[in-house]
Symmetry: C2
Subunit: 367 residues, 2 copies
Amino acid sequence: MPSTKKILFLPGDGIGPEVMAQVRRVMDWLVASGRASFEVEDGLVGGSAYDAHGTPLHDDTMKLALAADAVLLGAVGGPKWDNLDFSLKPERGLLRLRKDMELFANLRPALVFDALAEASSLKTELVAGLDILIVRELTGGVYFGQPRGISDLPNGERRGVNTQVYDTHEIVRVARVAFDLAGKRDKRLCSVEKANVMESGLLWREEVTKIGTTEFPDIALSHMYADNCAMQLVRQPKQFDVIVTDNLFGDLLSDCAAMLTGSLGMLPSASLGEADANGARKAMYEPVHGSAPDIAGQNKANPLATILSFSMMLRYSFDMGVEADLIDQAVRDVLADGIRTGDIMQPGKTLVGTSGMGDALLAKLAA
Amino acid sequence: MPSTKKILFLPGDGIGPEVMAQVRRVMDWLVASGRASFEVEDGLVGGSAYDAHGTPLHDDTMKLALAADAVLLGAVGGPKWDNLDFSLKPERGLLRLRKDMELFANLRPALVFDALAEASSLKTELVAGLDILIVRELTGGVYFGQPRGISDLPNGERRGVNTQVYDTHEIVRVARVAFDLAGKRDKRLCSVEKANVMESGLLWREEVTKIGTTEFPDIALSHMYADNCAMQLVRQPKQFDVIVTDNLFGDLLSDCAAMLTGSLGMLPSASLGEADANGARKAMYEPVHGSAPDIAGQNKANPLATILSFSMMLRYSFDMGVEADLIDQAVRDVLADGIRTGDIMQPGKTLVGTSGMGDALLAKLAA
Ligand SMILES: CC(C)[C@H](C(=O)O)[C@@H](O)C(=O)O
Ligand SMILES: CC(C)[C@H](C(=O)O)[C@@H](O)C(=O)O
């Protein structure tokens, strides 16, 4: 009998709940087939948490997250909460989860599925077979640096301040994760910053270089300025294997890379903390897409990114690579059969809704 | 007799000198045809200035820049100077010019020339006719904010710090330039920040909104997060008219937008200061491409971006729109004739070198 995994479900806002519902079906199948045992708790985050409790993340939910073996998050945000105070915005709930769980390594694969290569806005030959992994630092940099805020100046103007700050260990630990992952792939790591303009970027470059030389001499390390990286992603994305970069550059570059695939509705992500003595790490998994309030509640959203996020959970948190492979293969098979939600619809294919995509996937798993 | 314009030439490093040489030919033609009168001085910047004077920009050169009616810059940087101290790097020369001349508004058009639409890595229909203008704040934000630097911590680690800071007037003045330019185009301005994460971005959004409402009610203003903007540029670039954003986001997004065109060797830029009582502004013009050390001195570089930067100078600094139009049209005609440098070469076209491209352009101008 497999050990029971405690998972916290945080569906969040917009399409979050309906895509998460499809994951439940996949989990039920794993349980029914005797492959796994799960204990699931549900919590609120983002706008829905604000509506219920007046805060985008209640302390009780934070406790559940810290106690869980892994967290699965849907998406947060929506126009309904756009005018809330900075500290109450839906995003703050997500950022608190990242920070308090110390999820410093954000893994964002940009993967082109064969059946969807033509969906990219890039020429097909430039993206067919694309498989990049962006490792984004997630608990430091300008997202959390102090001092920060808006203040009134004596001259009647206002001043807005944020601080980009990185200490050695913050750079080193995320670099190690990236080198490690590169070692399991094509053994090439590209580290990205603006060392020509920012001292924090220069420190980044120096520390990554040191770790590379001393601990990962077999990984080919290169360095690139962030502006050039934005260009190179558009020009020739397949030149990259693994990219490691800071929180803010990672935010832009991983979204840019995700869009190269043409199918944001397909992309999962993992956010990992430090491994403890038993090798267990805090972890949160979430689709890259947003809460898509315009189609929420209409059974139109693509659940595959969330299902693939759950598959990453099996792989990275529970060492269930076999089951993760089953799910990933089922996703490819469903696409090969021409089953499509609206966001990835192409002429001649079969349009289904959120639950219809779940049906098709379950049928593949059962087969 | 037209009044004499004082221009400072700063060819810089790599291919800088050879592309600037082609601009001289265009200037000579303007003079010979009685259309203009120029007084040109030459100076060093970047690695070549470091080699000559031990600094990437000598004070005397800075004085010349401040005294000139306009500055034309080639490009700075190269592997030769990669290991210099932060404060001596070629880039510091460029950054000092921007800062000391107070060139707060950086105009970066991303324009697809009809003859080159297929050079884009994006599908041709997504970029044909593309004409975006990115207005990047250039003298503030994390590029210049204090405190900054790398320090040793008591625990033996190091800390890298940079500060993103914007005051009201810095946001307002660049926003005015962007609104103004939008008014001469499609009357749509998109302001880009991370107001959901950074207070400096929130201030940016609020101040841009205020100026829009009070001073430019006829311009349609929208707001977008920087990560989403990186995605939307790749997904559907033609949705944009004018984009205004801060120094760091502008660095990445303008390079991303430039690469969408597929022909970096074609893109000019202008950096403008505040207009004085007579309407004159400090200004520097430079191609978007870098110093390309790999092909420097080989008569291979594309001079058109620098020539188009000179054309922007005529338009924005000297009110010589007629002459600027002549040059822009000559560039389009040369491309239509199939004349190409290596960077924009396509099957069936005629490959020329740097000076050959100059010859072709001069022939068009003379015709
Ligand atoms: C929602 C927002 C706070 C978040 C970020 O900026 O990190 C998002 O863009 C992401 O990339 O996960
Ligand atoms: C060379 C470098 C300092 C510069 C910048 O970062 O601004 C360049 O990338 C640019 O965009 O002009």
